[in-house]
């Protein structure tokens, strides 16, 4: 792994905070970072790893910050990037929003965290749930040294403290699936997949044991049951609380949940999905005079379901002017700074078809700047519905004290990277 030092820079390249872990790379090397970045940017060859002499900078950008790790070894790149993203994750959990201001306002906590997250270039305690037990923003308020050792640092159940109490014991389960689609200009689906995640909001007392039942195809095949629709999940990732050995042996998802909100698992389904909202577009560009756009949107999902907050974003040339719209439903708006027409439909029932026409003027002088062919993108959200058909069959909650707890389940399908290419 070996990152020699970690820096947080603002957009101008000024160091906001840094931590030297190994001392084998001169801390002044970071001054070369920004000039290197500018140089690469000019050449159009930005790259997540840059070198100056024997020093390599590996960096990521998050809102208005650069997080940079330096090393002079042939270290493990994927681990360094994972660590930088872990930093972002931990900081975000602490400060809600990770940006220049939050770093400056909380620099004490940031120093403390940097100290715990890594030692001598090796990641140490990176679980934010554990860290939150003994590094708190309230720490800046004065109190005499907390003499309590966080049990979780060495505890078997590191993600949950003992002695949690709720009046009403409930657990909310959100099943969220986003679909990624890429459709070619001639209307053929190039690639499509579903990325799903199951999120929990746990409000349970004590140390409850939970078991989640899904209509997992592998499980059904194992138990020999075969009724109803099942789902084949790939790349299943679990929160560390899930007992992987049990999942590996009999596909049972059993765990002691962390308190509050957490992502229990994520999965990917790599099947051919019919694009839920199908777009047909005709974009005619008459040079020097006008652009005419006709977009037809069709809901290709069940009639009972309704897609909410549908946004169809249609690209227009950057020099277009005087927009005119006509829509069969919803309303269209021109966003000149993004060169887009955004057509918003508040509610879009399945099986329906809507139409939007737009007309733009073009200047008589040709714009010689080369423009790319941005695709049409669509955003939407369909509640009470999952594309994959995944279902929570049961959620069993067992606690020593034997209380009754209620599980609530909610399904949402939303758009992920949903692109339809145009031929203009």
């Amino acid at each position: 792994m070996s990152a020699s030092a970690v820096f947080v820079l603002d957009l101008k390249g000024k160091v906001l905070i840094c931590r030297n872990y190994k001392g084998d790379v001169d801390m002044a090397e970071i001054d070369h970072f920004m000039s290197l970045l500018m140089q690469h940017e000019e050449e159009g060859l930005i790259c997540p790893v840059m070198s100056h002499g024997s020093v390599h900078f590996m960096w990521i950008k998050h809102s208005n910050l650069y997080l940079v790790a330096t090393t002079n070894k042939n270290s493990n790149a994927s681990l360094v990037y994972s660590f930088l993203y872990k930093l972002v994750e931990v900081f975000t959990e602490y400060f809600k929003e990770l940006e220049e201001e939050s770093i400056q306002d909380n620099f004490v906590v940031v120093y403390e965290l940097l100290d715990e997250l890594m030692d001598f270039g090796f990641p140490q305690t990176t679980d934010s749930k554990i860290l939150q037990e003994y590094i708190t923003q309230e720490g800046t308020k004065l109190e005499v040294a907390k003499s309590k050792v966080p049990t979780t640092v060495t505890n078997a159940v590191s993600w949950r403290s003992e002695g949690i109490k709720y009046k009403k014991n409930e657990v909310f389960i959100d099943v969220i699936e986003s679909i990624n689609v890429l459709v070619n200009a001639n209307g053929s689906v190039m690639s499509s997949d579903i990325v799903g995640s199951i999120k929990l909001k746990t409000m349970l007392s004590g140390m409850p044991e939970l078991r989640l039942g899904l209509n997992d195809r592998v499980l059904f095949a194992l138990t020999g049951r075969d009724k109803g629709k099942t789902v084949m999940m790939e790349d299943v990732k679990f929160h560390q609380c899930v007992r992987l050995s049990r999942f590996d042996s009999d596909r049972t998802i059993s765990f002691i949940p962390p308190d509050g909100e957490s992502e229990l698992m994520s999965y990917r389904i790599n099947t051919h999905v019919k694009p839920l909202i199908w777009i047909e577009s005709v974009i005619e560009k008459f040079s020097h005079s006008r652009v005419e756009i006709m977009v037809k949107a069709k809901g290709q999902f069940k009639k009972q379901s309704v897609a909410n907050n549908v946004e169809v974003r249609v690209p227009v040339p950057s020099d277009a002017d005087s927009p005119k719209f006509k829509t069969s439903t919803g309303h269209a708006k021109y966003v000149p700074e993004k060169n887009l027409v955004v057509w918003t439909i508040k509610s879009f029932p399945g099986g329906k078809e809507f139409l939007m026409r737009a007309h733009f003027g073009l200047p008589s002088v040709e714009n010689d700047e080369l423009e790319g062919k941005p695709p049409i993108t669509v955003k939407f959200e369909i509640p009470y519905f999952t594309v994959s058909g995944i279902q929570v069959r049961y959620m069993k909650i067992i606690e020593k004290s034997g209380y009754q707890a209620l599980p609530w389940v909610r399904y949402i399908t939303q758009s992920g990277d949903y692109q339809l290419r145009t031929n203009v």
């Binding site: 159009g44 790259c47 997540p48 493990n76 790149a77 994927s78 990176t126 004065l142 005499v144 890429l182």
Partner: protein, 774 residues
């Protein structure tokens, strides 16, 4: 806060820290410390406050302690004497009942990085190793690594090393992993931490307890273990199967790396592991973070060097999204080029065509040259797209297309008619010097087939005064000369003007000299000029071009899952620092992966006959272009053993009856077994039959030597000077003789002879096995 300069800030802060009222109020005291740290992070030099901060260190407030320690560690190097004062506080903290305080003190004690303090640190570190709190042990273990890093020359006590080894059995997984890391650093001289069988099994059993960082680390260390039996190997592999398909890309990558190193002797197992890891690999390519995607793509490129067919079915996963950053798009295209096959070529080219109009000119250029690359095997389809792109009349696209066409023509001369037709239509003048150079080269070489060529050159010549690039000037000269040779009537006047201008007015010496040279050359007459200007070109009959060989996994396995594959985009491959590593090929490799027993033994006989063991290797790979350049370098004399300064030519005849009748593929396969790479073949029954090949040979201490070779078989009498080299009595065997021409650089007669005998053996074996076939 009013604006204060650095010095005033320091004064102001010192006043606050020394104020006895502040001292008595913990809240104000902490605020004062906080201001110091804030000033420090803002880049103010507050090192002058060191002694004040040392005093402030004696506090019960743990946050204040942390802040002061951060301060002390940052400035300890400039205040080594004063740092001695902190040691007492730190040592006292090491006895604190609160484990958080103990670990904090211990960590910062080692972070001070002062060799003068080492003697005070050792004792608390030893105590820390036996502490009952895991968080203290974690820190103490790494503390030893830091200590060693500070004083690399002084030995760490053997007792401590033993204790660290025993801590590998610590119940806390992080302590265990830290022990591995620390031992690796401490024992670097002796080759790092020892991974024996009990340790391996222990680590494997506890792998699941570790977090992803720990897992990656353990997997990396396990690479060092050599299983004693095949059964044990397979046990380990099956234990690791779950990690191989882990959804965490770093764990998956570390496992793949481990599999590759464990299966070094069983390439087939390594391959099947890679196949199994396909899913997670593809998932990593679609990961949410662009850096992870980039890393994954770089590693896939690495894998494809050995397994060209891998992932071919999933080529659509490498299509670019519109908003993806250029570095990912360009990597994806490089991968796509590797994945092209008969089934997907149409789809793939269609997709690539879309990228050619990307807003980022570099991406567009990369797409165009990718199409050119595909054109080497699918020239018609690719050329159609390239020609279509010329119609867009975009300056940077035209330039890239013209350059790509030139490169394609080098390799596939059969494309020339289409290209000439396209150039005929192309009216643009390009801004880009590279593009103009490419255009001029093509106009010169294929000028007789482009009717408008002189008019195109005329545009350049009329504008000669405004030309700034020396490369273009030289190319323009050469192109005009070449065109003059085939179309003198149209060119004479223009060439005269050009030469006159360059000789009289040009300031660039290179260009002027070149012009003078051509001018004098023209005085020598047409034949002489033609001989110079129209030298040997790639032989159009050499149709089949075999792509770079599939490298053996061991070529790159050591750099898998490190930074190196990512850096190759920023460095030119020639300046790769690990090139020297790649050259170091052990002799085992020559015959090691040789399934054909017969071939194997024959190589051995040959190698044993020469004094030193021979080691052939085909890497670093030699591109066909480079080969051609080297091959066409003029030979000084044509005597049998003509020697230039550092390169040696020899010609031999080998009698092997049927070798030229067998298929190119089988000969290539058998040559590859002894690590000789074939670059080009004539079709099987063409006459003269030719094969071009190369290999590199290890010279014991002086690096390696490159051998290029040509095998020729003519049914007719061989021509002119070559006759002398043949034995006079060879006439009846004439038809069964293959003439071998070898060029070696740097020269080394012995190895060349040895190579010749290997080659002879291979050809004999091959032709005899071929003869037995009907």
């Amino acid at each position: 806060m009013p604006y204060l300069s650095g010095e005033e800030t320091v004064k102001e802060l010192r006043r606050a820290l020394c104020n006895p009222n502040v001292h008595s109020d913990p809240l104000r005291h902490r605020n004062a410390v906080l201001r110091v740290i804030r000033a420090m992070s803002q880049g103010v030099d507050v090192s002058a406050l060191f002694s004040e901060m040392v005093k402030a260190c004696a506090t019960v407030d743990i946050v204040q302690k942390k802040l002061i320690y951060i301060f002390l560690c940052s400035y300890a190097a400039v205040n080594p004497e004063l740092s001695l004062l902190v040691i007492n506080t730190l040592r006292k903290d090491c006895q604190d009942p609160n484990p958080m305080v103990r670990s904090l003190a211990l960590r910062n004690m080692t972070n001070l990085r002062l060799s003068s303090l080492v003697e005070y640190v050792e004792q608390p570190l030893i105590a820390g190793l036996r502490d009952r709190a895991a968080c203290v042990r974690r820190v103490a273990v790494l503390g030893w690594a830091k200590l060693h890093d500070l004083q690399p020359d002084s030995e760490i006590d053997a007792a401590v090393v033993n204790e660290l080894y025993s801590l590998l059995r610590d119940p806390d997984p992080v302590v265990m992993v830290n022990c591995l890391r620390a031992l690796e650093g401490i024992l670097k001289e002796e080759g790092g931490v020892v991974i024996n069988k009990p340790i391996t099994h222990h680590l494997l059993n506890r792998l699941k307890e570790c977090d992803i960082w720990g897992q990656c680390e353990v997997l990396k260390f396990l690479q060092r273990y050599q299983p004693q039996s095949e059964d044990e190997l397979f046990d380990i592999l099956s234990l690791l199967d779950a990690s191989l398909v882990s959804p965490h890309p770093p764990v998956m990558a570390a496992t793949v790396g481990l599999f590759l190193s464990l299966c070094g002797s069983l390439p087939a197992v390594g391959l099947s592991a890679l196949r199994r890891a396909q899913g997670p690999l593809l998932a990593a390519c679609g990961s949410g973070s662009r850096e992870m995607r980039f890393t994954a793509l770089c590693h896939i490129q690495l894998l494809l060097r050995s397994l060209p067919g891998l992932l071919g079915a999933h080529y659509k996963r490498f299509f670019c999204g519109y908003a993806e950053p250029a570095f990912i798009k360009q990597r994806k295209m490089k991968v796509l080029v590797e994945l092209v096959n008969d089934d997907n070529v149409a789809m793939l080219l269609d997709e690539m065509k879309g990228y050619c109009t990307d807003v980022n000119p570099d991406t567009a250029q990369a797409a165009i040259s990718a199409i050119g690359h595909i054109g080497r095997s699918y020239s018609d389809r690719s050329l159609e797209i390239l020609v279509g792109l010329l119609g867009l009349k975009q300056d940077h696209i035209t330039s890239a297309v013209v350059q790509t066409m030139r490169d394609l023509l080098w390799v596939c001369p059969q494309c020339s008619s289409t290209v000439c037709l396209a150039l005929e239509e192309c009216e643009d003048t390009m801004q880009d010097a590279q593009g103009r150079q490419a255009l001029l080269w093509m106009l010169g070489v294929y000028g007789e087939r482009i009717s408008s060529a002189p008019y195109k050159l005329e545009v350049f010549i009329d504008d000669v005064r405004n030309e700034t690039s020396a490369g273009v000037k030289l190319e323009l000269l050469t192109a005009s000369m070449r065109l003059f040779l085939c179309r003198p009537a149209e060119m004479q006047d223009m060439l005269g003007r050009l030469l006159h201008h360059y000789i009289e007015e040009e300031t660039d010496m290179c260009v002027r000299d070149q012009a003078l040279l051509y001018y004098r050359l023209l005085h020598c007459g047409k034949e002489e000029t033609e001989k110079v200007l129209q030298g040997r070109r790639s032989d159009p009959s050499l149709g089949v071009l075999i792509g770079p060989p599939a490298e053996s996994i061991s070529q790159w396995a050591h750099s898998f899952n490190t930074l190196a594959p990512l850096l190759q985009s920023t460095f030119k491959p020639d300046s790769k620092p690990q090139l020297s590593d790649a050259l170091r090929c052990d002799p085992v490799e020559t015959s090691g992966n040789c399934p054909d027993k017969q071939m194997d033994s024959s190589t051995h006989i040959q190698t044993s006959s020469s004094a030193a063991p021979l080691s052939l290797s085909v890497s670093p790979a030699l591109s066909p272009e480079k080969f051609e350049r080297l091959w066409l370098q003029p030979r000084a004399q044509h005597d049998e053993h003509a020697a230039e300064d550092d390169c040696l030519w020899i010609e031999e005849s080998i009698q092997c009856p049927a070798v030229f009748q067998c298929s190119a593929q089988s000969l290539q396969a058998s040559l590859q077994l002894v690590n000789v790479q074939t670059l080009a073949f004539t079709p099987a029954h063409a006459r003269p039959w030719k094969v071009y090949l190369y290999t590199r040979m290890q010279l014991d201490s002086r690096g390696s030597t490159l051998i290029l070779g040509e095998l020729v078989h003519c049914e007719e009498e061989p021509v002119n000077e070559k006759e002398r080299t043949r034995a006079p009595a060879a006439a009846p065997q004439e038809e069964k003789t293959v003439r071998v021409t070898l060029r070696q650089q740097p020269r080394d007669d012995e190895t060349l002879k040895a190579f010749l005998s290997i080659l002879t053996t291979v050809l004999h074996t091959h032709s005899s096995s071929n003869e037995t076939l009907p």
